[in-house]
Subunit: 410 residues, 2 copies
Amino acid sequence: VNAEIIAVGSELLTPRRIDTNSLYLTQKLNERGIEVAGKSVVGDDRERLANEIRRARKSSGLIVMTGGLGPTLDDVSREAAADALGLELDFHQEIVDAIEARFRRRGRAMSENNRRQGYILRGAEILPNANGTAPGQWLRDDTGILVLLPGPPRELKPMFEGQCLPRLAQIASPYQYYTLSLRVTGLPESELDQRIAPIYSEEKRVATTILASPGEIQIHLRARAATLEEARKIAEFLGEKVEAELGSNVFTREDESMEQVIARLYRGRGMTLAAAESCTGGLLAERITSVPGSSEYFLGGFVTYTEAAKNAWLGVRESTLRQHGAVSKQAAEEMARAVRAKANASVGVSTTGVAGPGGGTEQTPVGTVFIGVADEKSVEVAEIHVGGERDLVRQWAVQKAFDLIRRKAL
Amino acid sequence: VNAEIIAVGSELLTPRRIDTNSLYLTQKLNERGIEVAGKSVVGDDRERLANEIRRARKSSGLIVMTGGLGPTLDDVSREAAADALGLELDFHQEIVDAIEARFRRRGRAMSENNRRQGYILRGAEILPNANGTAPGQWLRDDTGILVLLPGPPRELKPMFEGQCLPRLAQIASPYQYYTLSLRVTGLPESELDQRIAPIYSEEKRVATTILASPGEIQIHLRARAATLEEARKIAEFLGEKVEAELGSNVFTREDESMEQVIARLYRGRGMTLAAAESCTGGLLAERITSVPGSSEYFLGGFVTYTEAAKNAWLGVRESTLRQHGAVSKQAAEEMARAVRAKANASVGVSTTGVAGPGGGTEQTPVGTVFIGVADEKSVEVAEIHVGGERDLVRQWAVQKAFDLIRRKAL
């Protein structure tokens, strides 16, 4: 069985509101082995909504609608569903009595328009709402299942969990699902895919998705099996093969960011870190210190944005700046060494580059970044060239620096 | 003209990812008087996507698709659009040449599968992508307009703004729209709304929206009139009344961030800035240096995350740390003074606080931040208390620091 989720409400078509109920619903459905094949948002428009319900019923066996069950005239989910399925709406006095009692308990009178909430699709089961006025509706026919749920999360969630999931258990797939995520750095998406496609495409019980962001690629392996344990085994077996191919480019198999991996490694090994940033302007320190407790291993940093600061604060030699320039392998080396010594840290890291859009030369064009990493014994410098805007150059530079910092602790 | 937005990608049908591009697109379309009539999310499924495009084209004149333009086989937006419209895809060698050059600049070889990105719907205009490999596509026919955009926001936004909005400006609408944005700091949303509601609710030709984020509130005044000039006048007349009420809490009437305002002011006055950060961990420097050309006025910064660094690098006195603690008015004062002197800057700014979740005490609970601002003559310290998570504390602290820095240059 596949599901579709239709969120109803014109407010969800404005720049400031987004349907987040579908994330919750997707998680709960996925846990039962039901895939979400599509999601849509429709405004308070009866005809459009009826069309959308008709379309969805043709392609998916389970339609979950959220919102549009309120008392006002622009709440059209009931009517649109009736139009789409060619059903009558029956009035249930007992629903209105319950709504009226609810108002009375709160010392209020029910409005006349709440009577609209007493209409139920002929043949549907009523899903009582303990946390609001709008009851849900559950309709099963030869085409599939249509569920109408209220929009507010505090009404929707208990109703879905308490009344829909038990009903779904009877129709859910015989499968259980397990998702394993690998996070990778240091490879472009296309190369990564070319290397692992032969591995994952062999395993039909696993759906593989690849998600790229600057300096990081996530590989999601979702395995399907009769039991959760079996699904986990299938995912992990494939994950190991993928990891064997990609080696130490895989920086984690857990749900953790690169800075959290660094936190784990440095804490675990009692290592400390200090940073001297030029082109990244504080972004490296900012991301490192975004992890709670980072003061345990991050001793501090310098943002030496001018040559004067590089010289005065870090002791980068004037001759280096004159001969090689502030954006150079030599400057990155001296910066990394200096900050390590000044902070008395296990590892010192440095960045110097041309983030752009100005400042590029023929020899060091925009996007050139040198990244230095020093420990007690030695210093190494990586040179990268990033195509794209200032922000992207900075992000790639930090991600590369993080990878070098991480490898120092492996 | 109504628009529909189709987000493509199986990852957007998982419990952990949500389409947020549509919020940006909705805002930009609304500003041009184009309403969004529906949104949908479709997985990497060519047939389903083609059906969705066919359906959307029947009900809306403008279809904006995001994602599914990558190099891998599961990127199906090109093929699905061709299926839906019954069009051929033409191969453009020049696109692939550009992608190859992009890889070369970064010292990498292009993969064979990037060739897939060279296919363009017959009759479509190519929208070059300055920030990634996938070009966009713009197709106008008798049925309407179909736009294919890459999924990553950093690629999508500049492409939409630079290449789609100018094309959309040609589409007829009886009205012209002009949006004036005021950005405000230092006031809570509820107080702000109470003060300006009597002003904006009088002007029916203007739609007012208020958008709050940590430390900043945006007031959008969207005026509608027969001509753009008239719309602009209406918006500006109202804007002046709102600004008169809010005074210097309004930090800009342009589309510029707080750090851009600081850039403009400091550059204009030939002033310079240096930063000493503790709890903000580099975020302040990072935001300042995110502005191109910031090296003209930002001389550098320290991230003194430990007491030792505060003492050794900035000369914060041991007696201050012992008597008042690192999170104190006195420490903030010394840090701001010291960094100003060390960098020989017009203004020195400092932050020291408890970002949490750990580290709070009864006297200085989590969320306490001291912000110091020093110039040649004096130093002042502001104390703020932020309720919320680590990230929020840091953001509010930086925003408050920025406001103090800005006022130093007024």
